[in-house]
């Protein structure tokens, strides 16, 4: 099992760091899945995560100048590692003026991702900072736990409002309640609502637009034939929503959510460099 990669372009490094920052805000530990062409950051829906799950997919060519990996075996040419994304974020955070960043899987005392940063210096030789991030290697028999989640059979799919606006609304609501209700319909309307004993606050968004989903095999999904005005809703943990929004520093190319009435909200954020999906289950 081998992995080594190198970033020399500062813009790429910057993008990559921002994505890692987003991941770090969503998950304390997660899985890094490496394949020849892609990197995936995966959080599976265990009870410990509050049932939320995440799937982030990036094309390695968008970031790395060099990327070599050899999986556990020829026919399973992938590597699954468990790690703390906050550590990787810390390593990359101070590397923003680096001449180059190299990442390598090593096994000195324990398996680590070694991030080596070469920094410019006034002297003849560069300054080198290395960060050894401990990782856990996930054995092949457990790989099935981390498959890509399928798009749920949703009732409503709608584009999200401007994330910055949504974030500031949710942040203020977070002070009042632990749970928030997201409801939306197929007429491009979405409401964010909190209700407590003392107060209820609702923010209304209009004209958001609903993404067209081509049905795969022509059969009716829950969304088709649905009354356009009827709202599908889910009550979710407000902190999870706030974390998702707080982690987005750059506006995505597309941001939408799929609501399965009273079951789950599925967020999809598409960037140039990759995609992020986040699932928040509804509170019963």
């Amino acid at each position: 099992m081998r992995f080594r990669a190198k970033i020399v372009d500062l813009a790429c490094l910057n993008h990559f760091s921002r994505i890692i920052n987003t991941i770090a805000k969503l998950a304390k530990t997660c899985i890094l899945r490496l394949t020849v062409c892609k990197l995936y950051f995966i959080l599976s829906d265990k009870v410990a995560n509050g049932g939320a799950s995440m799937w982030c997919e990036l094309s390695q060519g968008n970031f790395f100048d060099e990327f070599q990996m050899e999986g556990v075996a020829a026919e399973h040419n992938e590597i699954y590692l468990e790690f703390v994304p906050e550590n990787l974020w810390r390593a990359l955070k101070t590397a923003q003026s680096a001449k180059a960043v190299k990442i390598k899987l090593t096994n000195k005392h324990c398996p680590c991702l070694r991030v080596a940063v070469e920094l410019p210096s006034l002297s003849s030789s560069s300054r080198i900072v290395t960060h050894d991030i401990p990782v856990g290697v996930i054995p092949r028999r457990m790989w099935n736990d981390f498959r890509e989640p399928s798009v749920p059979d949703f009732d409503v799919s709608i584009y999200l409002p401007v994330l910055k606006t949504m974030k500031s609304v949710v942040e203020r609501m977070k002070n009042l309640s632990n749970f928030i209700v997201i409801e939306a319909n197929l007429s491009g309307e979405m409401n964010l609502r909190i209700e407590t004993d003392l107060v209820s606050v609702t923010t209304h968004f209009k004209d958001l637009g609903n993404p067209p989903w081509a049905s795969e095999d022509g059969c009716q999904s829950s969304a088709q034939g649905r009354d356009l005005e009827s709202m599908a809703e889910a009550c979710i943990d407000i902190k999870k929503l706030q974390q998702l929004l707080a982690g987005q520093q750059v506006n995505p190319t597309k941001a939408l959510c799929n609501i399965v009435h009273k079951r789950i909200v599925h967020f999809i954020l598409l960037h140039e460099e990759g995609s992020l999906q986040y699932f928040i289950p509804a509170i019963a």
Binding site: K102, E118, S123, V129, T130, D132, P134
Partner: protein
């Protein structure tokens, strides 16, 4: 100084006004000596044949409160008068501001004995001098919450900084960050090869920001692990000393395989293409190498009565004080700086020995 202790010690001397502080666990001491030329007027008072120049200590917060908002002070204050009135038991800080306004602050003080840490830069085997900016840039790679850092020397004359991981922390859970600096980034390097020391980063950061702000080069004097590290800043009118206790080795340190005497690592060379590759390749091949000779056990000395020697500025010997520390043990990190050095495993009992830098020589505490 406020990053170190809660009390500010003021000591006027013939060579200037000395401001000092020490932390509660006596593992950090700092002294700022302002020469008479720093001031528009400097009168230390007169010492009689039997009396010394008056000394006192005040609450750090009270003193800082007078100079609260630096930017507005710079705009409005013309002069500042500091006056010690022993008979009135007051330290007077008088700010002469614009428009004829005078703000007078009367701070209560306590008399005190001389606060002096025991250290001698001449006795240190190693010395590094660097512009403050270099060290600030180095320290930024470590998280703000990091308590302790290990400074070491490596192959090719490189100087390393690495976060210190406690022995009982799980190695498979802790991230280790190491930074290498080339010798020519420093203004001067005179170090014993293979030497390393571990000290508390938090107290050092305070001095570092002062050094950066005043654009003064910082000199680091250090010796064996366990002996204090001394940071100094020098200027025509200001002399600064920060003395920190360091962790002593009980057994060979497995934390820094690259900084002990036995090292197979080639120094990262100048050409980057080989630099990182060979460095990383070498890091892998050095996996099997031995840890190196164990460091000598810290010698246990018989306790001596705490006595201050006001005449001597610097002592040759460090004195230890057998201080039975009652009540809750101090925070674990300081515990390791203090007690780890002399506790042998399996040794029973609460009687702990402190390596004391500054003796608590006044009777009240």
């Amino acid at each position: 100084l406020s990053r170190i202790g809660d009390e500010l010690y003021l000591e006027p001397t013939e060579s200037g006004l000395s401001l000092r502080a020490v932390n509660s666990s006596r593992s950090a001491f700092a002294a700022f000596l302002f020469a008479p030329l720093f001031f528009q007027l400097y009168e230390p008072g007169s010492a009689g044949p039997d009396t010394e120049l008056f000394r006192c200590k005040v609450h750090m917060k009270s003193f800082l409160g007078v100079f609260r908002s630096l930017p507005s002070l710079e705009k409005s204050v013309g002069k500042c008068l500091i006056l010690l009135k022993p008979r009135a038991s007051r330290l007077v800080l008088q700010l002469h501001c614009k428009h004829g306004v005078t703000k007078t602050h009367n701070l209560a003080f306590q008399e005190c004995e001389r606060l002096q840490a025991v250290f001698d830069t001449q006795r240190c085997a190693s010395r590094l001098c660097a512009p403050a900016r270099l060290l600030a840039e180095a320290v930024v790679h470590f998280p703000p919450t990091l308590a302790e850092v290990t400074l070491g020397t490596g192959p090719g004359g490189k100087i390393s900084l690495r976060n210190y991981v406690e022995d009982d922390a799980e190695p498979s859970k802790t991230m280790v960050t190491e930074l290498w600096l080339a010798e020519d980034e420093f203004q001067s390097v005179a170090v014993a090869p293979g030497s390393h020391i571990t000290f508390c980063l938090k107290e050092f950061r305070g001095l570092l920001s002062f050094a950066e702000a005043s654009n003064l080069p910082l000199t680091i004097h250090f010796d064996e692990p366990g002996r204090p590290v001394i940071f100094t800043l020098d200027d025509t009118v200001l002399e600064v000393h920060l003395v920190l206790a360091t962790l002593s080795d009980l057994e060979s340190s497995s934390q820094s395989p690259s900084t002990n005497g036995v090292s197979h690592l080639p120094a990262p060379s100048d050409d980057f293409a080989d630099d990182l590759e060979s460095y990383m390749a070498a890091m892998e091949t050095s996996e099997g190498c031995s840890e190196g000779p164990p460091s000598p056990t810290f010698p246990l000395r018989t306790p001596q009565p705490a006595k201050s020697k006001p005449q001597e500025e610097e002592e040759e010997e460090e004195e230890e004080e057998e201080g039975a520390v009652p009540g809750t043990p101090p925070h674990k990190k300081f515990r390791s700086l203090f007690f780890g050095s002399v506790m042998t495993p399996g040794r029973p009992g609460p009687a702990t020995t402190q390596e004391v830098l500054a003796e608590d020589s006044d009777g009240e505490s």
